[in-house]
């Protein structure tokens, strides 16, 4: 059917590509495009009609109702302001969106997500296809001028179209455009003019600083000088990289010294990593940027400065650099020089929003320095009118640009996160710094959820095998609400057993490419913080419909094996099922039932059978060389109301823990084999590469100090040598070795099988299995969702969809999952750190630990009770080093007393609150007592190791009293 309103007067738009090609595109101009205003009587009212009939927002520049019209630069630069809910009824022209998308995908996404919120009333006006607003580029007119004219044309169109009922306010920061608009009789303001009338200082703070506003500094009497060398042009960089003059790499600032950094070079045989030192060489690069570098001539190579340098806390303007740099030159042997380079250009900025605090400055000052939480990010200069209010809060800041004349990058304020030191605020910081998506689920996502009460339909039953009569139980940690696995075991007539693992059927609810699916895909994983859980799926699914709760009918994806009594697998089947879990047990309960010989019901019997099979499976796996690794995992017992940590519990491992684990491993391996067989090109698998032998050096060296030989040529060798390294006098020694071994490992990653040519590289080193995937936790990991879909499609249990076999898309998802997964781990660790600090706040205590590593100027001390690893700096009160380091034996000698690795020590723990932003746990040596270095034990208890329990309980009690108030 041909649309009646379509006029076929096709205009031709000609573009020249290359040298001689002439490509002609058609453009169909339409008359059926709606203006989106409720005040309009002509346009067809559709769902897209957004703009209010009567619009008021307390603005006193324009008394009548008005709509805002934004131009490209406003969106590109001031998207932070546009995100404020104050601004509504905004017309975003199509041409602006196109230009924004062309220039910055990140900002395009942000403006798109504003448009997606109906309450904000951002309307996309299709001006380019509209017969009334289309403008042809005049001869000699630049594309920019043409676009500006197109935007002005929109304003005119609206004015005529709405018959002046509602005025159109054009927001543009381009002075020329504003003048032209005013000449044409339009209302035009700069964004600053417009929002100044609202009396909202924090909104003004969010404005991006323009170069000119910094000219004010000139008036303040400061000299403006060019500090940094100019960046070379893009074409120059491209030519340079091609010819090998420049190299491209990722810029990684040093944590210890703000004047040093490393560049990890891509595609170079000669250099992997280049060192950068000094302001001019760093040339305004910020951590994580993609940069172009030029290798310096060998005689200019620098020596890394080994000591820690903090950027001076006072803002000295831009002139101090000279002195700082001269202080930096290290006299040293030339052999210590590392290959160095200087940054010639930034290829891609990877600026994000940074959390931190404002540095105190003179009262009334307009410009302030912002100290980022991440120490690899330089300080940022921002303009703020609300410094007083922000004094003790955490704020978020975005970098805008870094002019050559400024020592610090310029940025603008985005929002405050809350009071400094507040637990909520600190949690926000952890989430923001680790790029964890923790916003509420949007409407569109919630719309994809099934409506309650949820019922099982006949159709559902027809496609599933009914296992409701089976004795299926789930075993999880106490307080677990997202139960995604359950087990059963029954004996068969032929003497074999049938074991089954039943996984929540998440993909039944999360259909591919729905908003719910895309949101989960983006989040990648559920993030567990000590006092909070950030769900991947809305709680209706994660805590209810998908959770295999006891006594309720739930959908599951089942793997069933026929297993002989000596744990050989005869047969494996996969199918979708419906189950009714008999009981949702904790590990403790399950253990009790299994051990109590008085109980002999169905549950107890199947638990015992499962246990015997799991034990054999485990033994087989260990024989193959699977590693048992340790990491210090602790859980905090939290106050039920304030969520403050009350006590630390070490995770207890029961037999039932590994019983469940063993079957989950078996399920994962069986599924991995199956999906690889079904889809060799696009199976989503998980690999854990074997680490290079050199990774194990620290472990081998550490074991040698106690006379043990650790071999690490194969996983099996490593496992065996770890098993043998046991000191009867030192029971914790073996655990520490295993912890060290954990740190030698590579990171396990998800990948798409189609991108690995060699099946050998699928290996999972830690588990000693040739192929592995994740199938068993679809509620909290997206990878499992992918695997469920693959398996379901492969066994004809579910419909297929286009992206299922697209390996490129799959690999892209895998990359995102790996990133999210890693960030979630870091966040969890940061959260534990935070709680450890809260725990030790206001309490000085003695604790025994072990020397875990010996460093040049410090000892790493491990406190097993808290799973805490801290650094004991070997310097006296004046900051002078006291120890004598022997690299060969890894020992430190202090006042004739030699400390070896794994030596037991006693330390005093306190929280150092000197640096308000980065509070850290601080320890002092108590035992062995070294004169002039160690501190006396706390007077209250003449500490012996046995008495430590007392010292712990007292402060905890105190905390309890406080929290109950």
């Amino acid at each position: 059917m041909i649309d009646d309103t379509r006029r076929l007067n096709s205009f031709l738009r000609k573009t020249r590509r290359g040298h001689v090609l002439k490509i002609t595109h058609e453009l169909y101009l339409r008359t059926d495009i709606t203006c989106g205003s409720n005040a309009c009587q002509q346009c067809i009212i559709g769902q897209t009609t957004l703009l209010d009939k009567h619009m008021k927002n307390g603005n006193n520049l324009i008394s009548t109702g008005h709509y805002l019209l934004v131009d490209t630069n406003i969106v590109l630069q001031q998207v932070d302001v546009l995100e404020d809910p104050l601004l509504t009824n905004v017309i975003v022209p199509q041409i602006v969106l196109d230009e924004v998308r062309h220039k910055s995908l990140a900002i395009y996404k942000r403006i798109r997500s504003i448009i997606a919120i109906p309450e904000r009333k951002f309307f996309v006006f299709i001006n380019e296809f509209n017969k009334n607003t289309f403008v042809l580029r005049k001869p000699g007119e630049s594309p920019n001028d043409r676009n500006d004219r197109a935007i002005r044309k929109i304003a005119q169109f609206y004015n005529e179209h709405l018959k002046q009922q509602i005025s159109i306010v054009l927001l543009t920061d381009d002075i020329a455009n504003r003048d032209l608009a005013r000449q044409e009789g339009l209302i035009a303001f700069s964004l600053k003019e417009y929002i100044s009338t609202f009396n909202r200082p924090e909104l003004l703070d969010r404005l991006v600083l323009k170069e000119e506003s910094f000219d004010l500094e000139k008036d303040l009497g400061k000299r403006k000088e060019i500090i940094f060398p100019e960046h070379v042009s893009v074409s120059e960089v491209q030519r340079g990289i091609k010819s090998g003059k420049y190299l491209q790499g990722t810029f990684q600032a040093s944590r210890e010294n703000y004047l040093e950094a490393n560049v990890f070079v891509q595609d170079s045989e000669k250099y992997n990593q280049l060192f950068v030192q000094g302001y001019r060489n760093l040339n305004r690069a910020v951590h994580d940027d993609i940069v172009a570098v030029e290798v310096l001539p060998e005689q200019e190579w620098a020596i890394p400065f080994s000591l820690v340098i903090d950027d001076k806390d006072d803002d000295q303007g831009d002139l101090v650099i000279e002195q700082e740099e001269t202080g930096l030159v290290v006299q040293g042997v030339s052999s210590k020089r590392t290959s160095s380079c200087r940054i010639v250009a930034i290829i891609k900025r990877n600026w994000r929003q940074y959390c931190g605090i404002l540095q105190e400055s003179l009262p009334g000052a307009r410009f302030h320095l912002f100290l980022p939480h991440e120490r690899r990010i330089p300080k940022i200069r921002i303009e703020s009118r609300q410094a007083e209010e922000l004094k003790n809060s955490r704020v978020m800041v975005q970098i805008d640009h870094w002019p050559r004349s400024s020592r610090y990058p310029h940025g603008h304020f985005i929002k405050t996160l809350g009071k400094l030191g507040d637990k909520e605020t600190e949690n926000e910081v952890i989430l923001a710094e680790h790029d964890i998506l923790h916003h509420e689920f949007p409407e569109a996502v919630l719309d994809c959820l099934p409506k309650l009460p949820w019922t099982i339909t006949e159709e559902d039953l027809a496609n599933r095998i009914d296992l409701r009569d089976f004795c299926i139980v789930s075993i999880d940690p106490p307080g677990c609400t997202d139960i995604d696995d359950a087990l059963h075991c029954r004996s068969l007539e032929n003497g074999n057993f049938e074991c089954g693992v039943h996984i929540a059927d998440v993909t039944h609810f999360v259909r591919p490419n729905t908003a719910l699916d895309l949101e989960a895909r983006e989040r990648g994983t559920t993030v567990y913080l000590t006092d909070r859980r950030i769900d991947m799926l809305p709680v209706l699914l994660s805590g209810n419909l998908c959770s295999l709760r006891g006594g309720e009918e739930r959908f599951a994806f089942s793997v069933r094996w026929e297993i002989t009594p000596d744990a050989k697998i005869v047969n494996t089947i996969f199918h979708k099922s419906i189950i009714k879990s008999r009981s949702a047990m904790t590990y403790e309960q399950a253990q009790a039932i299994k051990d109590d010989s008085g109980i002999n019901d169905e549950i107890a019997r199947s638990l015992r059978r499962l246990h015997s099979i799991a034990a054999q499976l485990r033994q087989k796996r260990l024989d193959k060389g699977a590693l048992v690794l340790e990491s210090s995992e602790v859980r905090f017992q939290l106050d039920t109301e304030t969520h403050d940590p009350l006590n630390v519990i070490n995770k207890e491992l029961r037999e039932t823990n590994w019983l469940v684990e063993e079957f989950m491993l078996l399920a994962n391996i069986s599924v991995a084999e199956k999906i690889y067989e079904l889809f060799p090109d696009c199976a989503c698998l998980r690999k854990h590469p074997a680490p290079p032998i050199s990774n194990f050096d620290p472990l081998v060296k550490a074991a040698e100090t106690k006379g043990f030989q650790v071999k690490a040529n194969t996983g099996k060798e490593l496992a065996d040598s770890l098993d043998q390294a046991i000191l009867s006098a030192h029971p914790y020694f073996n655990t520490m070795l295993r912890m060290l071994a954990t740190r030698c490992m590579m990171q396990a990653v998800y990948f798409c099988s189609g991108f690995e040519s060699d099946i050998k590289s699928f290996e999972h080193y830690g588990l000693a299995t040739p192929i592995y995937t994740h199938f068993t936790s679809p509620i909290r990991r997206y990878a499992d969702v992918l695997v469920h879909r693959l398996l379901a499609a492969g066994i004809n249990a579910d419909a297929t969809f286009p992206d299922l076999l697209n390996k490129r898309v799959l690999q892209q998802i895998c990359n995102n999952l790996n990133y999210r997964h890693r960030m979630a781990q870091y966040a969890a660790r940061a959260s534990v750190d935070l709680h450890t600090q809260l725990f030790f706040k206001n309490m000085n205590t003695n604790e025994d630990g072990y020397v875990f590593a010996v460093r040049k100027n410090a000892l790493q001390i491990l406190l097993p009770r808290y799973g805490l690893e801290t650094t004991l700096f070997l310097r006296d009160k004046d900051g002078k080093s006291v120890g004598e380091f022997h690299e060969e034996e890894s020992t430190q000698t202090i006042n004739n007393l030699t400390i070896h690795m794994f030596d037991p020590v006693t330390v005093q723990i306190s929280v150092d609150s000197n640096n308000i932003q980065r509070q850290r746990i601080q320890i002092h040596l108590v035992k062995p007592f070294i004169d002039g270095f160690s501190v006396a034990p706390i007077v209250k208890n003449k500490t012996t190791i046995d008495e430590i329990d007392n010292t712990i309980t007292t402060p905890v009690k105190r905390l309890k009293v406080k929290s109950s108030k």
């Binding site: 041909i2 490509i23 595109h25 169909y28 296809f129 990890f264 895309l518 490129r808 790996n818 790493q860």
Partner: protein, 267 residues
């Protein structure tokens, strides 16, 4: 604890730069053939045809001729015949031959060879076969009908416009046919079917399907699909292609009727 000396965690952290956040919506945002507002790049909606215009009798010497513009594609179809062929045998049906050629300026990069290449030959064969079926060839035993197709300007797929123009030229020549023959393409981009692809859309590596039907008889004459398509989508695309052909059929029928009206008026 991240203290300055905590170098043990450094090697792991450094690796994080290899893993940058690739937001999964990237590849959705990446291609932009259909905007979120639902418009294609030339302002059409997914189910709209390009501009369509025909004129008949452009070559008075020929028995039937038709000049057609479909979007940016411009072509001339002429029919000669039926005439007595160099009959080698006692054939009972008319023979249809097709000669397809392009102008050297019809695509943005000048072509050196304008006929007789693989592509042209295949197209010739395809059109010959389509019309062998559509023409009631039994009417003209021992005779021959020649189709001459000349592309003046190309806009992606040439086959479909050629079929449509030939149909109209046959009608112009007054040669009896079983039905109109309509052909159009359908692509599947961003989980949507879009009909009547132009060159820009055709260059995307996405599933495409070309369907040729006789709309009033509900017959499929030819169907090509050279990409791997999931069967769920395939049916969807087939439906979209059929709908596109019906739209096209209306336009073609209208053109014929208009032509007839003017001719009758002259008479």
């Amino acid at each position: 604890m991240s203290t300055p000396m905590d170098t043990s965690s450094l090697p792991i952290k450094n690796k994080s730069n290899q893993l940058t956040s690739t937001l999964t919506t990237d590849y959705i945002v990446g291609s932009d053939l259909i905007s979120i507002e639902g418009y294609r790049q030339d302002g059409r909606k997914p189910n709209e045809l390009r501009h369509f215009r025909v004129s008949f009798n452009v070559v008075p010497d020929a028995d039937g001729s038709c000049y057609m513009e479909h979007g940016n594609c411009k072509l001339l179809a002429t029919i000669y015949g039926p005439y007595e062929g160099e009959s080698r045998s006692n054939q009972e049906q008319a023979i249809i031959t097709c000669d397809f050629s392009m102008t050297s300026y019809c695509v943005s990069e000048r072509r050196l060879r304008t006929f007789g290449d693989m592509k042209s030959q295949r197209l010739q064969m395809a059109i010959q076969r389509v019309f062998q079926q559509a023409i009631i060839t039994e009417t003209y035993p021992k005779s021959q009908i020649d189709i001459y197709l000349k592309i003046l300007q190309s806009d992606g797929n040439d086959y479909s416009p050629c079929v449509n123009a030939t149909t109209l030229a046959f009608i112009n020549a007054g040669i009896p046919m079983k039905d109109f023959v309509c052909s159009s393409t359908v692509g599947y981009i961003q989980n949507k079917c879009i009909i009547d692809l132009n060159q820009q859309e055709e260059q995307q590596k996405s599933p495409q399907l070309t369907l040729t039907i006789m709309p009033q008889r509900d017959d499929i004459v030819a169907l090509t699909c050279e990409s791997r398509v999931h069967h769920d989508i395939y049916n969807e695309m087939l439906d979209a292609a059929t709908r596109a052909n019906l739209q096209l059929f209306d336009l073609m029928k209208q053109a014929v009727i208009n032509q007839l009206k003017t001719v009758l008026h002259v008479l």
